[in-house]
Amino acid sequence: MDAWLQHTLDGLLQAGPYALVGLGLTLGFGTLRRINLAYGASAMLAAYVGAWLHARYHVHPLAVLAVVLAVAVLAGAYVEWLCFPGARGIDRTRSAGTTLGTGTDAREVVALASSFAVWMQLEQLAVALLPHHLNAFPSWASEREWTVLGLGLRPDRLGQLLLALALVLALSRWLQHSRGGLMWRASASQVTAAHLVGVAVPRVQRIAFLATSALAGLAACVVLVVDGQVTPMFGMWMLVKGLVAAMLGGLGSVRGVLGGALVLGLAEAYAQALGGALARDATAWALLMVVLLWRARPGAERRTAHA
């Protein structure tokens, strides 16, 4: 019984990192209605630059974190410029259907495909910088474990979860109660109407994209200072875990991503207890598949829009 309580606690704590990596993806999708496949790779490149500075020049850990954030934003700006130019508001030279931001058009497919290409490009760039599989990252991992009601609790993991909670609540409050948040939600809700009420939609979307890139950088820092290392799999890990958490939470919902992260964390913890690491990873992929099939069912889009 105690073992299952411990698995449950581990799953709940794992929701922290998952919510952090899912937050940027869900905000990005909520604003542009497009998935940025280069999301994880941007954060990975930033983390590699930080690890390189740490290993080669022994840069102070706080400075490393600042660099990771800055590089993540720069990489995000590059991805936005290259892959999502059509998403910047309205293309005023195109036909009404596409101009007014309704329906699927070729630009969405191009954006998805080009962000995949940039994902590969950024990963290669990172690996060229640090070719080893394991690379040290400034570590603030806890060396001790608390015992609470007979259960082991690592303070660093608790810190990750509390930070995720605080970020979700702060972002949610800002979106609900500020003028900027209302502009952001209006642009996401009906892009043509947002233009018509005077929102500078291209600027809002660009800021939103850079903010999601900064969130990706922050998530990478928070995860890696506990892991103490970064590998070439980190970009893929961020994308998959973030995507599953975001989709389980109803892609686009800030509070939902926390729920999605909890479901993913608990499912993985139980799967690992039953079938080991392989079962844990298979669970994440299975959940992603189930959510994709659920969202693709007939009438799902209409129901989601009214949810």
């Binding site: 005023r92 030279t93 009404a96 502009m183 209006a186 043509t192 109407a193 005077g198």
Partner: protein, 238 residues
Amino acid sequence: MLEIKELATAYGKIEALKGVSLQAKAGEVTCLLGPNGAGKTTLMMTIAGILKPQRGSVTFEGEELVGLSPAEIVGRGLALVPENRLVFPALTVRENLMAGAFSRRDRGAVKADADRMLDRFPRLRERIGQFAGTLSGGEQQMLAVARALMSRPRLLLMDEPSVGLAPKVVAEIFGIVRQLHSEGVSIFLVEQNAHMALKVAQHFFLMEQGKVSFSGTPGQLAEDDVVQRAYLGERRAA
């Protein structure tokens, strides 16, 4: 007040507006009639800055609007109530109203204006916390009008406000148009419902295949044979 000269807008190689020229005077309700596909919505979207014209000019109170962004055009005093309302479905009624005032800097007066809108449209007050996507078509139309008025426009553009609505609601919407006009709001109205438009507008334009084919007063419009056949569904005895 609003002057459009030789305006041409195309979707790729298809020219939807082929040199449109018309004017809307201050204090009047000007109505643009025309069949589906005539280019009426394209004209409204071009005036609002959503579509970029190939040539021609749109001047408002002497200032050229072509080349300005939609946000800049709203800031100049024009507001469009678009076809099919285009309310923000995922925002509440109150949030839709507040969004209508994004272009304003006098934020202190915005809340008072929102309350005035709720007095003008009591049904919106009943639905204040409801998501706009859950409102009926008529309520969404009222919300779209109220949202546009929140920017305190000097010219209100309305694109087929009666489309898809029940006759009773259409009468209500045209009542709102009359009331706004009586309060001094200038209105440029696109409509297919000529019977209702005749009751509110002081000047008419008819648009067919991307060109203006008629310009005149309600009396002249009622005398026009083409309009009689196509829009009023009757032919006066000779």
